[in-house]
Homo-oligomer: 228 residues x 2
Amino acid sequence: MILYELAGRDEFRFSPFAWRTKMALHHKGVEYESRSVKFCDRSPIEKSGQERIPVLVDADTWVHDSWSIAEYLETACPDQPSLFGGDTARAHARFINSWTDMVLNAGVFGLIVRDILDHVHPDDVEFFRSTREARVGKPLEEAQEGREDRLVAFRNSLQPLRQTLKSQKYLGGDAPSYADYIVFGSLQWARCASPFQILAEDDIVTNWFSDQLELFDGFGRKAPGYPA
Amino acid sequence: MILYELAGRDEFRFSPFAWRTKMALHHKGVEYESRSVKFCDRSPIEKSGQERIPVLVDADTWVHDSWSIAEYLETACPDQPSLFGGDTARAHARFINSWTDMVLNAGVFGLIVRDILDHVHPDDVEFFRSTREARVGKPLEEAQEGREDRLVAFRNSLQPLRQTLKSQKYLGGDAPSYADYIVFGSLQWARCASPFQILAEDDIVTNWFSDQLELFDGFGRKAPGYPA
């Protein structure tokens, strides 16, 4: 399979959505070739009929949207370990996906948005700055300013995750499921695009994140990024 | 089975945790006798070895904590429809349980805390006021004041739920699972303890809540409360 994922400067690959997909591919034991796509030139994914990254290509099948890719992999590789653990588990995981998109990602974005700029592909610097500044309505420097003061609120927003991990090792229970990879992707986004430590060292969430960095022969840990 | 649940004024029964359990009992088709317990006198549940309500009694087995009760019912009634849909689904549901406890319930509490006082058992009025005022650090009237201004933030906090329900009918997928009952319990808490409309009429969350009020021959709808 071929994975089209967001390019970054040098070997940095920080997209939270690409991380969800890459962990899912490893979970399924699928070999894939990664090809990077710049924000400013999406021609490589033209055949997918839309502009969002990541896109997975399996022979003639083009699949976009990280959630749809996970569903595709679950169906295409039924003999490999399940990503979801059944229909109801998949339905429940969608809530975790929505929470991550709307709460967690919004929180992380506000803490590292200016730092991301230092890790995008050189050709994407202008695109990233202009689109994101239009979104937040101010310069990226200002958007990130005062992040130390927002850290307590951000860490508080992780309470549902923290509370859950007090009762079970992974969101998926004894072993990681796609739900874990969804949330992992957002923390890996921060680790791969900013030196700012968004988690406290003694947080159970930090331990859980570290455990996932070790999965698949340390796949996540080996990715260029900052200490976590 | 016998369910010890929080008493209220007259026939009002608003505890969000009791609602989770009652929906789970109906889902499993279990007949049960409800006995009410006042905040100020927990002697009926003494045998459970702790003070929290609800408590379920099945012959000689005393089970407390709504989550544990759901797990107990899942095991005790294996031939009835599953509450969780498997181990992974149960693990994922725990995140929804944590989110509900920490985010949703905190939000609802701030909107209706003074109204709840009008619905507690007469013997519990003093207990409820003093313990809750100690918790929020101000008179209940003040804690609830200005709720109209907090309504937008509260409704925004439901975004993960709303987003999920755009893709599937229930949190459990095509049919309700215990995850639905968890969140239902908090909205039913508001409906049964306050005339204040915490949801907008045109919200997909409102439709989903209404659908659940109709389940089990309108069990939720028939409970004394306010229009929803």
